[in-house]
Symmetry: C2
Subunit: 147 residues, 2 copies
DNA sequence: ATCCCTGCAAACACTTTGCATGAAA
DNA sequence: TTTCATGCAAAGTGTTTGCAGGGAT
């Protein structure tokens, strides 16, 4: 699956006449090695630890390419940073965001997706993407709040 | 309904020991006179046209108070600005956001809300708020894109 | 008389951009 | 050898904060 993504990116890059550079390879590797909602800063720091030469602007620029290439998706959770997550084809999940501890729980619900399609159809709207975020307190923070 | 909101804010202000100032009255008036997703900047400019003395920091600060007071809700549509909309009690709607012309269509769907409750319960999660945004092309932009 | 609120400007955090250099084609 | 990508620093955003003066209680 990782290889697949690399190929996907190479195809995309070739199609757009983009060059294959060491930095892009590195950033892709590190991105693929992450889980859940990395912010640019986080990814940048991880990479810099191993490859000190890299610039944060490059990480910003490259993550946008990944989005264009369909490998990554922007996720904006109320924390003032742009985060990215992996795109897994045919799968979409949404987020429960705990405002107590900032934990993020992912969930999937097909019925909700279908209802969205219906709503869109009713408005003549063509869906490209969507984002459902539920904010509140996770089980642990609820328990902690009670004491 | 507008008066109701003013009273709601006064009650909130009194409860928190906040002062009633000319600026807060003005900002509340202008906010109540707007429709749909004003950004702080937009509101600030409208106010400034009539009350040049006002500072944008005050508008920022005051809108946050409105959120605390339950009169307003933050809406973040991918455009890099914080926007606010009115809270109408017991009513919640979500948004179809057109990436072509930036139009925002509101919709309500009770079934989706219920499904969210179920999901939350399943995870022991206590919902405080949620946000569902569907991005894509509105009917008009779809038609335009075809030509 | 207190202490909150305001306006201004400076500070902020995150992100984007301009430019000279270096690397890929 | 042309052209794209990079790193750096500077410039941008939108938003927040510190502070001295003004206003509400």
């Amino acid at each position: 699956m990782i290889l697949e993504k690399k190929h996907a990116f190479n195809r995309f890059a070739a199609g757009k006449g983009l060059r294959s550079t060491r930095q892009r390879e590195i950033i892709l590797d590190f991105f693929l090695a992450t889980h859940q909602h990395v912010s640019v800063e986080e990814l940048y720091l991880k990479i810099k630890a191993v490859h000190p030469g890299i610039g944060s602007a490059t990480v910003y620029r490259t993550l946008k390419l990944f989005v264009e290439a369909g490998l990554a998706r922007e996720v904006l959770l109320h924390d003032g940073q742009t985060r990215y997550e992996h795109v897994v084809e045919g799968e979409h999940h949404d987020h429960l965001v705990c405002t107590g501890c900032n934990a993020v729980i992912e969930f999937e619900n097909e019925t909700i997706e279908k209802l969205q399609d219906e709503i869109a159809t009713r408005h003549g709207f063509l869906i490209k993407s969507h984002k459902l975020e539920i904010y509140g307190l996770c089980a642990r923070c609820r328990a902690a709040a009670k004491t």
